[in-house]
Amino acid sequence: MPRSMPILLTLIFAPGFFASAPVHTAMIVGGGAAVVSGVVGVFTVMRGQSFAGHALADVSSAGGSVSFLLGINPLLGFLGMAIIAASGTELAGARFARERDLATGIMLGAGLGLAALFLYFDVTSMSTTGAAITVMFGSMFSIPSSIIPLALTVGAIAIVVSVVFFRPLFLASLSPDLAEVQGVRVRMIGLLHLLVLAFAVSLSAMTVGAILSTALLIGPAATSLQLAKSPGRAIALSVLIGIIATWGGILLAYDSFTWTPNHGWPVSFFIVTLIFLFYLAAALPEGRRKRKRIVQAGR
């Protein structure tokens, strides 16, 4: 049925999807964020630093509000704040998991406080009440295309560093003791990872918003680590899932303009939902397998 194909295609891709400039920008920047978060996320989940990843994203939003205030490139604001926060946590010198959790929590509280303050200044000085929404939840379809070169550079730096230090990073994430024996400087690698994390997180905080960037960082990586057997495959799968979720989310959000009158549904909602579904799809069979094993062991 040759006739039904175009109709089917327009059902999936609403008219104008491929011609729309905001969609192009969103797909490039969002895709970049998904790739970087996918690579860095695998190490972050392995190292048990999901909280740090989330906290850095939230704190970098304070930088986003500053850049609103100063009128500088928002990515620089996000990035600067994330680097300050990452160094701050590392300087607190937390060696035990619980102590690290606390230092991260305190840093997060202080950073969010700053965000509140800067947002307050934003609101009072420029009466931009939308700033809180934009900074926290991002607004993919309003990313200016001028940001693409800088965003891709930041992403490329994070990926290059991760690839160059792949072996020590992987070893230190898997087993710090083993890495120490092999001559890896575990603390240095820890700091390096936090800085790469800051790069990745500030990039995605700009695209899906400070809070939801956690979804891109943790979701695909946690999903792929449940499925893949080798680190290389885990990273590839995590990147793939991130890109599918991001582009799928953009597509659905674009389509949703026709679902409800006058306005579309938020991109962040679709991306997060897709990521969550991927995670559940990977986790559920795993749980069933485990239960089966337990039942068999019981016999």
Binding site: L102, Y120, A132, L212, I218, W265
Partner: protein
């Protein structure tokens, strides 16, 4: 102003008590994720035209269920992160559908301490008393399970059940206070003072009392400064929290000799 003072004092007491366990269990992430993940509930309730309290409680239950159920299969913080972002994803959807959102989001995240009516105090007072009461009733099993889950299991205290209790208390304590003090303030109040108290002493009861004391002091100073400067309360609470933690760490370093003699209760 008096109303703000009363509500903030109530929230500070609960935060000090529950925060003691947050710090002891090392679950700052849950303490951050539960209030934050609960706030879309208010938007959902707004959309359906029901009392925001029901929405908040529903989302708090979803949050607790998400963290504890997903936590069975994977790392705890991965479960927390995924539950949080999924709830927030729903939140963005509800917010975009209700339209009157900017101001609401700001208030839910950062609080509106200085605009509280007398009627709003009652639900906060009730939940504060219930949450503090239950925490104190479960003090020993919660403490044992937090310090050594294995020892707790040996005494017949299920670590999983204690975790569920802890998460439920955390969610319950924050849900009602959320529209007034904001997700950010609740979190800062839970972690900062308790962390400072923990750094100063290892004995559980003094640590908890100290945590409540610092929490009260933080709130009172923050509200006064906010009243004077007109800056948001959340900023002062976060800053004072970080400051008191730093002081606590320094105090703890000086007192290492003394602390070494103290015996952890377990």
């Amino acid at each position: 102003m008096i109303n703000a003072w009363a509500v903030a004092t109530l929230v500070a007491v609960v935060a000090g008590i529950v925060g003691f366990f947050v710090v002891l269990r090392g679950s700052s992430f849950a303490a951050h994720a539960l209030p934050l993940g609960t706030f879309p509930g208010a938007a959902a309730a707004n959309l359906l035209g029901i009392n925001p309290l029901f929405g908040l409680i529903l989302f708090a239950v979803l949050g607790v269920a998400g963290i504890s159920q997903l936590g069975r299969r994977s790392r705890h913080e991965v479960a927390t992160a995924l539950s949080l972002v999924t709830l927030l994803g729903l939140g963005t959807l509800f917010l975009s559908l209700t339209r009157e959102y900017s101001q609401g989001v700001y208030a839910l995240l950062f609080g509106e301490v200085l605009g509280i009516s007398r009627a709003e105090i009652v639900p906060v007072a009730v939940t504060s008393i219930v949450a503090s009461g239950v925490t104190l009733l479960l003090f020993r099993p919660l403490l044992l399970s937090a310090i050594s889950p294995e020892l707790g299991e040996a005494r017949g205290i299920s670590a999983r059940r204690m975790e569920l209790w802890f998460l439920a208390l955390l969610a319950f304590a924050t849900a009602t206070a959320l529209p007034i003090v904001g997700a950010l303030l609740v979190f800062s109040l839970m972690v900062g003072p308790a962390a400072a108290a923990r750094a100063m002493t290892n004995r559980p009861i003094p640590a908890m009392l100290l945590s409540v004391g610092i929490s009260l002091l933080t709130v009172w100073v923050a509200i006064s400064l906010s009243y004077l400067s007109n800056w948001p309360v959340g900023f002062f609470v976060g800053a004072i929290g970080a400051f008191s933690y730093a002081i606590g760490r320094i105090w703890g370093q000086f007192g290492t000799m003394r602390l070494r003699r103290d015996v952890v209760l377990s």
